[in-house]
Symmetry: C2
Subunit: 244 residues, 2 copies
């Protein structure tokens, strides 16, 4: 039994954070309820849209901090945020809270290191995540070469698919996401990071093995990092840059 309580700042979108809770449970080695990880999910879908904030919309920082403060008040010892784009506010959140925040890009990098330790890596994500270079800077600093969809591919394939998942139309999201993953593989990517937590939800609406390229699901990566934090004795993985 662990007494470390995980705080999950979610609702961005709510399907992704629910899926995170499911994967956190399924990936935890446990025989009874009591061996699972105590967690509080703060699912606030009202948090202002992260992409729109970058285009002059309302800033999400105060809503993000309200969630982190609520999770802290509930006794949580670390924060996981199953939304890649929200990590554009990582430094400001980390600066304002004393709690460790498990960085989703570090979590993805830890999984990448196991299956594709060097070379070209494809990254799919929201336009905001790619523009903020959340993946490019952190992965290139560790020696990977990062390729991403071009502007037209974002507009025609990735962005509409992410919106489809956010409106519960997961089946409609599969084909464009599958097409994009295959294009990145054709350009040399040894693995493709699904760097928006809506993307694995769309891809799981169809067969993913047929894509013929390794996919790094950032929901799973963050769940594994969370399990490693809550149950350090398991020794599953170690994030490079996140204190715990």
């Amino acid at each position: 039994m662990t007494n470390r309580i995980l705080g999950v700042l979610g609702g961005m979108g709510p399907l992704a954070s629910a899926q995170f809770m499911l994967r956190l449970t399924l990936l935890t080695p446990a025989e009874t309820d009591q061996e699972h990880i105590p967690a509080v999910l703060w699912s606030d879908p009202r948090i202002p849209d992260r992409g729109r904030a970058r285009q002059g919309g309302p800033d999400p920082l105060s809503a993000l901090m309200a969630g982190i403060d609520g999770l802290r008040a509930a006794g949580c010892g670390a924060i996981a945020i199953p939304c890649n784009t929200a990590h554009g506010w990582y430094d400001r959140m980390a600066e304002r809270t004393g709690l460790p925040i498990l960085h989703i890009v570090d979590a993805a990098a830890a999984q990448l290191a196991l299956v594709a330790p060097s070379g070209i890596i494809g990254v799919m994500g929201t336009a905001a995540t790619l523009e903020m270079r959340l993946y490019q800077d952190r992965l290139e600093a560790r020696g990977w070469q990062v390729i991403t969809p071009d502007e037209r591919e974002m507009a025609e394939l990735v962005s509409p698919a992410i919106l489809a998942v956010k409106s519960n139309r997961v089946a409609a999201a599969y084909a464009p996401l599958a097409e994009m993953a295959q294009r990145l593989a054709a350009r040399g990517a040894k693995a493709v990071v699904l760097g928006c937590t809506e993307i694995p939800l769309g891809l799981q609406a169809g067969p993913s093995h047929t894509l013929g390229v390794l996919l790094i699901d950032t929901i799973d990566a963050l769940a594994l990092a969370s399990i490693a934090w809550a149950k350090p004795a398991l020794g599953i993985i170690k994030l490079e840059s996140t204190a715990a």
Copy 2:
């Protein structure tokens, strides 16, 4: 957008409450994140086992109340508990908190009324749920005739399947649960209530339509009742005995 925040007292088991969050999201009519229901999930798998409490084990009431108090502090306006057995403590919880608690049996009854408004109904659940007559008393008071597995069926089929789900072995749970649902149908049940939130998780590991009997998933029923509470304008369902 709704400003009603749903409190979900979960972790009993954690897979069931994660699935509840997923179904709450998928069943909510929404086009954007911001139209979904704000919710806080208190997933505390350390809450003492409800079945074992009835056999002299530690009582879960104080852990249940700690969760409800935490959800109240987080600003939640009603509580949903995706664990049928925990409803054996419903009266004591309701008495101690001022918040409305959406009763899972009422939620199941609201769905039953739509598809099998009278006659014989099968109910599967934990031994504790059946012994406490959580379903029998409430459904019989409304005119249904309730049949349940016998002691041997509980020991050989239902109880081991529930334990399998709690240890993440959902595939192993399918066959015994499917067998039990079919036996209840053969005895005249027009519908079978899956009155333990682990049961739908086991049954979804295989095809459920082949069972040839209507199944009432209490995770879905409680999610629908929660949506009705959070978004009363939708007019989805009305629970008979729960104030909101």
